[in-house]
């Protein structure tokens, strides 16, 4: 059948700016456009059929330059750049670069014709993968891309910088070999943007914005590409140049330390700190493959962090009581006071652990004692609050309630504040033990009160944090926390920090009673928060097993440290270290700034005290369910 020219519509007249070629159009009487493959910032790529071979379907890729230059002179400049780059490409010969075999202009546009590469680009492969990609696959791609970059960078008379390495520019072609596409064609002169634009190219190196385009920029972009492929986190959606905030292994822990080190080195801001050449990076990746094939422990190439060793810490002394200890000691004037489930309040010498005296109550002691004047004050499960002489352990006064006392007492303005399981918050004269007033909540008060200015704050199992006037116990406000409050509040700079049985740590405006922020953990927060005023960070433990460090102003997580079991006890912060015990039996010492483990100490039982460890003159003291009080040096 005779071929009619009407079957090959030709491009007539001008195409409007921004319009893509219609399907079916024939360029140069030879290339019939069959599909739009992709539209980029600088170009459009079409699939076309080479009509010189009418009996078969020979496909090719036709790349059309987008020329957005505002005036004629710049437009001509752009076309000349395009032609020159096309000439360069025509001379290139590498398995990973598509061959150019034609170039022309038609209408008001410029075109290149090259091999059509069937297959998917790495961005599409990443999107379609159900989980993370295999490390071996990514390393292989990395090696092949390094190979072609090394080739380009070694061209004469000058290195060719690809400038656009990213997953969508890398095809996994026939035989699963990579091909670089969208070769830096015609960097068209971009008119100065008047309005504000949204979005950046997440793979570009920082020096590019100073107008520097050199081979080590391609290495950065390759690092960014590998980072994206390993973590599935698109750098275009993140703040620019923030890869260090997202180390590969923190998102994909299965990646080897060696590969992470290679990727992070390629991503150094400072060009001089990256690999000095694609060849060097390729060698590093190849060495990694051999290592992984031979030895499964994965020794890293380059500097890696050494695994942290937890130094064995020896206790200075330990003292055995007659039963489990659920609370923390308090130290004053060289004497340590602690209550135990054996009904006794013990007084020991803080330096040596020697026994001084003990006072027997009728019930287990769960609360932390409080020292005021010459008295030690503590409540017992026998429902009575006791004030005992510090020197001899003789009773001064006692105050009965109608419920077990587990809340630790606090003293301010000569008044003792404490809660009881009978649902009351009591205020009692420190000298005489006489009740001044009491406030009734609807359920047990097990948390310890906090006093700030004219207000006392306390939580109850009835699901509220109360703010009461010190003078008369009148309610100023109450804040609802589902399932109750066992944590003791902490007041700092106008905010009340407290944990809730609804798994959250709250920061509540002390005057208004509205929550400034809430941080959700994975379990109940029975632990009471502690603060580092220098760092502006609040620390607390959760039943989910972790110790949390949260920014005091914004509620953002600073760091999180996992232990092996519930963290019910409360932290103490002292000289840049956070001390906290866990139900897993250890006392942990964590760096307050980074959350790194400084050391840990194992008891024979569990550390369940809800009060924080006591710190006094170079020692930290805790009690554990193994009946022991430990004194550890710090």
């Amino acid at each position: 059948m005779a071929l009619s020219t009407r079957q090959f519509p030709e491009l007539e007249g001008h195409l409007e700016e921004g319009e893509t070629l219609p399907i079916g159009i024939v360029l140069q009487k030879r290339y019939q456009i069959t599909e739009v493959l992709g539209i980029g910032g600088q170009s459009v790529v079409y699939q076309a059929r080479d009509m010189k071979f009418p009996n078969v379907t020979k496909l090719c890729a036709v790349k059309e330059m987008i020329n957005a230059a505002p005036d004629l002179r710049l437009r001509e400049l752009a076309v000349r750049n395009f032609e020159r780059e096309a000439d360069v490409m025509a001379e290139l010969n590498h398995a990973a670069l598509p061959k150019i075999f034609d170039k022309f202009s038609e209408g008001n546009r410029s075109y290149l014709v090259m091999d059509f590469i069937p297959g998917k680009d790495l961005e599409a492969i990443l999107e379609e993968a159900p989980g993370f990609l295999s490390e071996n696959q990514v390393i292989q791609w990395g090696i092949e891309i390094c190979d072609v970059l090394a080739y380009l960078h070694s061209r004469q008379p000058g290195p060719i910088v690809f400038r656009d390495v990213k997953p969508s520019n890398v095809m996994s072609g026939p035989q699963e070999r990579v091909m670089l596409i969208d070769f830096g064609i015609a960097r068209v002169f971009q008119p100065d943007q008047k309005g504000t634009m949204i979005g950046t190219e997440g793979y570009s190196p920082p020096e590019q914005y100073r107008g520097i385009a050199e081979p080590r920029g391609d290495i950065y972009a390759l690092g960014a590409t590998l980072h994206h492929l390993l973590t599935k986190r698109d750098p275009r959606l993140e703040p620019p140049f923030s890869f260090e905030e997202r180390p590969v292994r923190s998102i994909n822990p299965d990646v080897s330390e060696g590969l992470e080190a290679i990727v992070m080195r390629a991503l150094q801001y400072d060009m001089d700190k990256r690999f000095s050449s694609a060849e060097e990076m390729k060698l590093a990746l190849t060495a990694l493959v051999e290592l992984r094939a031979g030895d499964s422990s994965g020794v890293a190439v380059g500097t890696i962090a050494l695994p942290r060793s937890s130094d064995g810490v020896l206790a200075t002394w330990e003292f055995v009581c007659e039963d489990e200890i659920f609370s923390s000691p308090v130290v004053s004037n060289g004497v340590l006071y602690i209550g135990a489930y054996d009904h006794n309040l013990w007084a020991l010498d803080a330096k040596s652990g020697e026994f001084i005296w003990k006072y027997a109550t009728e019930g287990g002691i769960n609360a932390q004692p409080c020292v005021y004047d010459d008295k030690v004050i503590v409540g017992s499960e026998d429902r009575v609050l006791y004030a005992v002489h510090t020197s001899r352990g003789r009773i001064v006064w006692s105050c009965p309630t109608n419920g077990r006392i587990r809340s630790s007492a606090r003293v301010e303005f000569d008044i003792v504040f404490f809660g009881s399981d009978d649902g009351y918050l009591y205020t009692v004269r420190a000298q005489s033990g006489r009740v001044v007033w009491r406030f009734q909540a609807m359920k047990e008060i097990r948390s310890s009160p906090a006093i700030d200015g004219e207000v006392v704050y306390v939580g109850s199992d009835d699901g509220h944090l109360y703010a009461l006037n010190i003078q008369d116990g009148k309610r100023r406000w109450q804040f609802r926390i589902a399932r109750g409050v066992m944590s003791s509040p902490l007041v700092f700079e106008g905010l009340v920090y407290v944990g809730g049985m609804d798994n959250s740590l709250y920061a509540i405006d002390a005057r208004y009673g509205s929550a400034a922020w809430r941080y959700r953990t994975g379990g109940r927060v029975i632990s009471s928060p502690a603060i580092s005023p220098e760092l502006g960070v609040v620390y607390v433990g959760s039943v989910d097993g972790s110790v949390y460090a949260v920014d005091a102003d914004s509620g953002r997580l600073v760091w999180k440290f996992p232990t092996e079991d519930q963290v019910i006890s409360s932290p103490s912060v002292f000289k840049g270290v956070v001390y906290i015990g866990s139900r897993d039996g250890h006392l942990y010492a964590l760096d307050a700034k980074s959350g790194d483990l400084r050391w840990k100490f194992k008891t024979e039982g569990r550390v369940l005290s809800s009060a924080p460890p006591a710190i006094y003159e170079g020692m930290v003291y805790i009690g554990a369910t193994d009946h022991r009080v430990y004194a550890l040096p710090i």
Binding site: D192, Q193, K194, G195, T196, M197, I198, G199, T200, P206, E207, Y209, R210, L237, E238, P239, P240, F241, S242, Y269, R475, W477, Q478, F479, R480, A482, E493, G494, Y506, A507, D509, R511, Y512, G513, S514, A515, A516, W517, R518, D553, S554, G555, R556
Partner: protein
């Protein structure tokens, strides 16, 4: 008897001593004095900035509880997209904050039944509501968003983009928010000097904005506002043209926040007025 005597004018009125009400018996608590201004500038064809200010005070038992909501949004995007994005954002955020925070606060007594939501969650959600609304209604457009909820002397600030919030105290400006611009990041990395920033070709590129869709991470700041300090919110049409010392001087020398806003806008126009100029100034008076 007293009454009849007075009626008949028989006795001269005894002299009445002027009693001055001592200051301490007046309501205690801080008050907010607000100034606000927005101007198209001298170059642009439309004003794509939007702002919102609301002030309310509840006083009971001699205690005052001030509340404020202050917002600036700088829109961008072709055709009318920018105007639409910023206006929509201002309305959506104001409505959300009032609905989720202030109205429940007003209706809750001491016997509150409705658990009150943490402020950071309320304002971050409001920003995300605006993000989705703009994406739906004006998909090609976007806007910056910087807004502050003031309760008593605490300011809770949510922020996306390159409009700014400053705290002015003791005559000095302290920038509270961080610009989400490519430029700010390059300066942070030491790739560009701040002086080069003004003429850099990518100075208008943001990497985050309301309207970009998806889940947006919005910055949250809590700032305590000391007495006689100021909170200043503005679009880049102001801070891009006037340096911080100059802004602080204008605020210091103006008798009222409103007068200061007028002067700031005037000064920005004198410096070229290349962009829309919007400023809100809140004074915290003891």
């Amino acid at each position: 008897m007293e009454f009849i005597r007075r009626l008949l004018g028989k006795e001269a009125e005894p002299p009445v001593t002027e009693e001055i009400v001592p200051e301490e018996l007046l309501d205690t608590g801080p008050t907010l004095v607000v100034g606000q201004a927005s101007h198209i500038g001298r170059v642009r064809k439309r004003n794509e900035d939007a702002y919102f200010t609301l002030q309310a005070t509840l006083s009971r038992n001699g205690e005052t509880f001030p509340f404020g909501l202050f917002l600036v949004a700088d829109g961008m995007g072709g055709h009318k997209g920018g105007e639409l994005a910023s206006a929509l954002t201002a309305r959506v955020v104001a409505e959300a904050v009032l609905r989720e925070f202030y109205l429940p606060w007003l209706t809750s007594g001491v016997e509150d039944v409705i658990p009150q939501r943490p402020i950071n969650e309320v304002i971050l959600e409001a920003a995300n509501e605006a993000n989705l609304a703009v994406q739906r209604v004006a998909p090609e457009a976007g806007t910056t968003l910087t807004f502050a909820l003031i309760q008593g002397t605490n300011a809770y600030i949510a922020h996306v983009g390159d409009s700014r919030a400053y705290l002015i105290r003791q005559g000095r400006l302290e920038q509270i928010t961080q610009d989400h611009s490519l430029l700010a990041r390059l300066i942070e990395l030491g790739q560009i000097l701040p002086e080069e920033a003004a003429s850099h070709p990518q100075r208008n590129v943001l990497y985050k904005a309301i309207g970009q869709g998806g889940t947006l991470e919005v910055d949250f700041y809590l700032k305590s506002l000391p007495t006689n300090s100021y909170l200043l919110l503005c679009s880049d049409g102001l801070w891009g043209l006037i340096n911080e010392e100059h802004m602080a001087a204008i605020v210091r020398e103006s008798p009222t926040p409103q007068e200061a806003c007028r002067k700031l806008v005037h000064e920005a126009n004198l410096q070229g007025g290349e962009d829309n100029i919007t400023v809100i100034l809140v004074q915290i008076k003891g």
